[in-house]
Every structure is written in C-alpha cells, then in structure tokens.
C-alpha cells in the first residue's frame, strides 16, 4: 500500500438521500425492534421528524467513500486481500429519514505490520445544513504474502 495516502482527503461523495423505507428495510435487517426505527408516529412522539436509522446505518453512506479509496489509482490496495479489522461510529445525532447526507473521506493513517498493511479511513458525514451527523471510521487490513 502507498504510505503517501496518509492524510489524503477525498472529494465529497455524491449526496445520499435517506429514504424512509430504506431505514425500515435496514432496521429489519439488523433485527431492530425499537418502534422509533420503524414507526413514524413513535419517532415523532420521541421528537424526530421521521423514522430514525439504527446506529450502524451510516455504513451505507460511508461505503461510497470506501469505494473511492479502493479505486484510487495510486493506492495499491488489492480488494481481494482486504479484511475489515475495526469499525467505529461517533455520532453528533442519529440519522433520520429525509436527511441529505454528504460523506468526505480522510485517510487517517497507513501502517505496516510485517507483510500486512493497515489503513484507517475516517468518513465525516454532514447534513444539508453542513452540520456534523456522524463519523464512520474503518480500519482495513490488507493481507500481504506470509
């Protein structure tokens, strides 16, 4: 992997419009049972404009930025050797249906551990007003030859 990737900031990904049915579909897929995730009235009673996405929904938005990283011509990342090591979401507020989200990826670090490389990618996700919603942080391990 190219060590000069460290610190690189990618152009913002195309904005992602969060649909109500997508939130419900994702919520069911992760076995969410909280009515705030599924029911508009329950979400509004809890003070939200619409159904609230589960805490890991940001991965769907982050995915577009990771695709940018893997496709970067000088990155030297072989996708078939990539293993997901760690994942983190740090939220200012939950994602709600109707949000128009923009994700911007920064390569926080590139490390080498023997034959393997590790890249930590931070995708900062903001709403239509430019306010921070959540940062999704992935550490990807690229396996080298043993």
């Amino acid at each position: 992997m190219n060590p000069e990737l460290q610190g690189r900031v990618f152009p913002p990904a195309e904005p992602y419009l969060v649909g109500r049915e997508k939130v419900r579909e994702f919520a069911r897929a992760v076995f969410a049972t909280n009515p705030v995730n599924l029911d508009v009235e329950a979400a509004q009673a809890a003070g939200y404009a619409d159904v609230v996405a589960p805490p890991t929904f940001a991965v769907v938005v982050q995915e577009h930025t990771l695709a940018q990283l893997l496709a970067e011509p000088d990155a030297g990342i072989d996708f078939s050797r990539v293993v997901h090591g760690d994942q983190r979401f740090t939220s200012t507020r939950p994602i709600v249906a109707g949000d128009l989200l923009t994700a911007t990826l920064t390569v926080a670090s590139v490390k080498t551990l023997g034959p393997h490389s590790m890249v930590t990618a931070e995708s900062a996700i903001t709403d239509a007003a430019g306010e921070h919603v959540v940062t999704a942080i992935s550490t990807l391990v690229v396996r080298g030859d043993e």
Partner: protein, 145 residues
C-alpha cells in the same frame, strides 16, 4: 416489539450490571436480507462455492450485520437510538452460517464504565457464537444526560 421506552437512570447504574441480553438466530435468509438492505453483495455472504474458493470454512455473516444486531439490545435498553453516541467493535472471528442449521449469535451487554460528569455509560458487549467470541472491544457509549 420493545416495551414502552423508559430512560435508564444513570445514578442507579453500577459497573458490572447486565443491562440486556438477547439471542439472534441467523439463517442464510438473514444474510441475503442484510445484503439487500446494506448494498454489500460480496458473494462470500451467500455462495458456498465462492466462500470455499477463497479458503473460508463456509458462508459468513457480514461483519457489519453482527455489529448492527449486537447493539440492538442496548438501543432497546436506552429507549432511543439517539442516545447511542459512539459504537465501536473489532472483528475478531468470522460467523459461519450453516445452510440448514444457521448460527445463533448471543449478546450480553454490561456496564463497563460510568462517566458521571458527562453522564455517559459505556456498555461493553460480549458477542458469541457458541463458546467463541466474535467481536472484540465492542463498546457502546450511551448518553443518559
């Protein structure tokens, strides 16, 4: 469905308290459903031949599916997904999902640390497949202010 949500009272919590437990029986259907919902169509999550060709012991659950379901007992305990301020995991062991028998992931959520100034509870998750731990350093910060 979850019961009527109530906010856990920060001052009544103690480190070591088990706040939630839940079993998640996964089948291949669960993996296909997550693939569609998340857009992650890596075939190692639904094709035995592809999984075998890359040396895996079988079709695996998406790591992000395991991460996504493991926090749900905490969401229900907290009463509102908006109280989840931070959530992190390390993927330590794959979850192999048998085509016939599936696989059951068990989650135990315990109070790991209490920050009285911020009124944030760190909930530590133990996530297992049988006797094997599949997520490491699985921590949820829940804002109860």
């Amino acid at each position: 469905m979850a019961a009527v949500s109530s906010i856990p009272v920060f001052d009544e919590l103690a480190v070591g308290d088990v706040v939630a437990e839940r079993d998640f029986p996964l089948t291949r259907d669960s993996l296909v459903r997550y693939a569609g919902a998340s857009g992650d169509f890596n075939p190692i999550h639904y094709r035995d031949d592809v999984a075998a060709s890359v040396g895996l012991p079988g079709v695996l659950a998406h790591g992000m599916l395991t991460m996504g379901l493991a926090v749900q007992p905490v969401v229900d305990w907290a009463g509102d997904p908006g109280r989840i301020a931070d959530y992190q995991v390390r993927f330590t062991r794959p979850v192999v999902v048998d085509p016939v028998d599936g696989a059951t992931v068990t989650v135990t959520a315990k109070v790991g640390q209490l920050d009285a100034d911020a009124r944030v509870a760190r909930i530590d998750l133990t996530v297992k497949l049988g006797d094997d731990t599949v997520l490491g350093k699985a921590q949820v910060r829940v804002a109860l202010g």
